[in-house]
Symmetry: C2
Subunit: 316 residues, 2 copies
């Protein structure tokens, strides 16, 4: 599928349901609502749906896009690499082969739709959407620009991470010309935290343990800490990045309690340490800088297992 | 002064001292070292100097630019709006009228040099330098690109703040093409904190007080807290932004102890609250979103004075 074919597809489709991935983030929602608005601006019917509720923190993306009533004829998935990410409530869309088109930027895309467009070098699906609208000569409106900017900004950590491309900067340079409130969006996306989130960050930081001359830091998140802080599951995102914020730390290990003796491990690394290789030892995997696995045992056992494995990394 | 004249100036000058502002930041150092490298690449002699020591955190900007020995013939100031910002050790440059050219992006520039170029709509002096090099057809090298990227990123809070322009994004889109380690730079500039900094952030957050239904938050930084945390003065930057990180807070007041009964107040606001107007009541001033003043009295007296004044803001 190329942009010319997507244009044909979008021109001829109608009554469109846009699927976004479960635990929705700024990119899937930004791409979904920008596409929805584009279709409605063309006089078509369109809705964005999700297996979960749309999180309150993204309300500025969806509040100008009330659901419409229509008989669904077309299904488009955005930013969904795998049918597993659709979520149980909407799983039938995959099971019944109802997904017509998928637009995505994940290299791991499983090509589950009838037609698929993947650009794995794009920083975000919203960057692809921007380039598609550009190609089609679409009149982007301010709300579409807000959606697309949000997706690119959130998927790149506000242009901070390695996945940020020149094209992402250029797209946002153009999107800013629609007089969008990007500073307010960025404040909401990156700076503001709930009191519960601040509480758990503090609790976690206070109990951080350092190993190997401060190069490895371990944090624990117990079910008890989660309850006490009053944090919502949606606010957990990014806690695993806390250890790497400390000067000198090259490997951060987060031990998060799932059940009584089951822990989910998240590993974050910088420089040359391979987090994925580290986690594979425990049956997990992921990327070179961010990976995970699950280990059973008491907290102390799990921690000791991980620190012993990290000893290999730091002391060879 | 326009770009054509600056080109003439740079082509004909030699033995150049580049002045950067005291308490140097990424923009003044980025602009200074990019210019220094450009001049050296042209076969000229050039040094960057500062009234203070170059902070360790910016070592990647200056470590490839060892001082040269020469008889100074030309002096260029970068990112310096006012001679007061040169610092005492180098004050003679202003007092003796030795500054030939100043390149800056502050609207408040005092035009103290023989020639001045100000573009107040630029996000950073490094953005001006990028556009100047572009205009001159300069061959930018990787280290120059790192310097310019750092200045733009740091002055815009990594493209997060309101002062970020489309031109800033476009400049960085181009600078990234020099294969710079922007993600490592951003991590160092925005994510990594010393243990001392983490300690004081926690101490400050733990004692944060809320007023007017959580819309106003007050933090205190006492000399005692500073001593206990072991924090360096260079690491204080940005503590005043902590209150506004809490959901619902519209006005953050930071009360920082100067001496026994003297406190420096920093006010940060969002939405419609005028921080500058608030601080003017106490003989201070600043910008609409960030302002300051100094108040004498005991800590409790100072806090009560400020909260009473804030009552006007929130309860009219």
């Amino acid at each position: 599928m190329d942009f010319t074919k997507i244009r044909c597809f979008l021109e001829t489709c109608d009554n469109v349901t846009i699927l976004t991935h479960k635990s929705p983030d700024g990119d899937t929602l930004g791409a979904g609502f920008a596409l929805c608005r584009f279709l409605r601006n063309c006089g078509k019917m369109a809705n964005v749906i999700n297996s979960d509720e749309f999180p309150e923190r993204y309300n500025f993306l969806y509040e100008e896009c009330e659901p419409q009533k229509f008989e669904e004829k077309t299904v488009i998935a955005v930013d969904i690499a795998d049918t597993k990410l659709i979520g149980s409530r909407l799983a039938r869309y995959a099971e019944e082969g109802m997904i017509d088109l998928c637009i995505d930027h994940h290299v791991s895309n499983k090509y589950f739709a009838k037609y698929t467009y993947v650009n794995a070098s794009a920083s975000a699906t919203c960057q692809i959407m921007y380039e598609l609208f550009n190609f089609m000569g679409t009149k982007i409106d301010r709300q579409m620009a807000r959606c697309l900017y949000t997706g690119i900004a959130t998927d790149t950590g506000c242009f901070k991470f390695e996945n940020t491309t020149s094209a992402a900067h250029i797209a946002c340079a153009e999107l800013m010309k629609y007089n969008i409130d990007f500073a307010t969006i960025n404040r909401k996306m990156f700076d503001v935290k709930s009191k519960a989130r601040i509480n758990i960050e503090q609790a976690v930081t206070n109990k951080m343990e350092y190993f190997f001359g401060g190069k490895c830091a371990v944090i624990a998140i117990t079910t008890d800490m989660m309850k006490k802080s009053g944090i919502e599951p949606a606010e957990f995102e990014g806690l695993a990045s806390i250890p790497l914020q400390v000067e000198g730390v090259e490997m951060g290990i987060t031990i998060k309690q799932r059940h009584e003796n089951v822990y989910k491990i998240s590993v974050r690394t910088i420089e040359t340490i391979d987090a994925s290789k580290f986690c594979r030892e425990f049956g997990g995997g992921g990327h070179i800088r961010a990976a995970g696995c699950e280990i059973e045992g008491s907290f102390e056992e799990v921690k000791n297992t991980l620190v012993n494995a990290a000893k290999e990394v730091f002391e060879g």
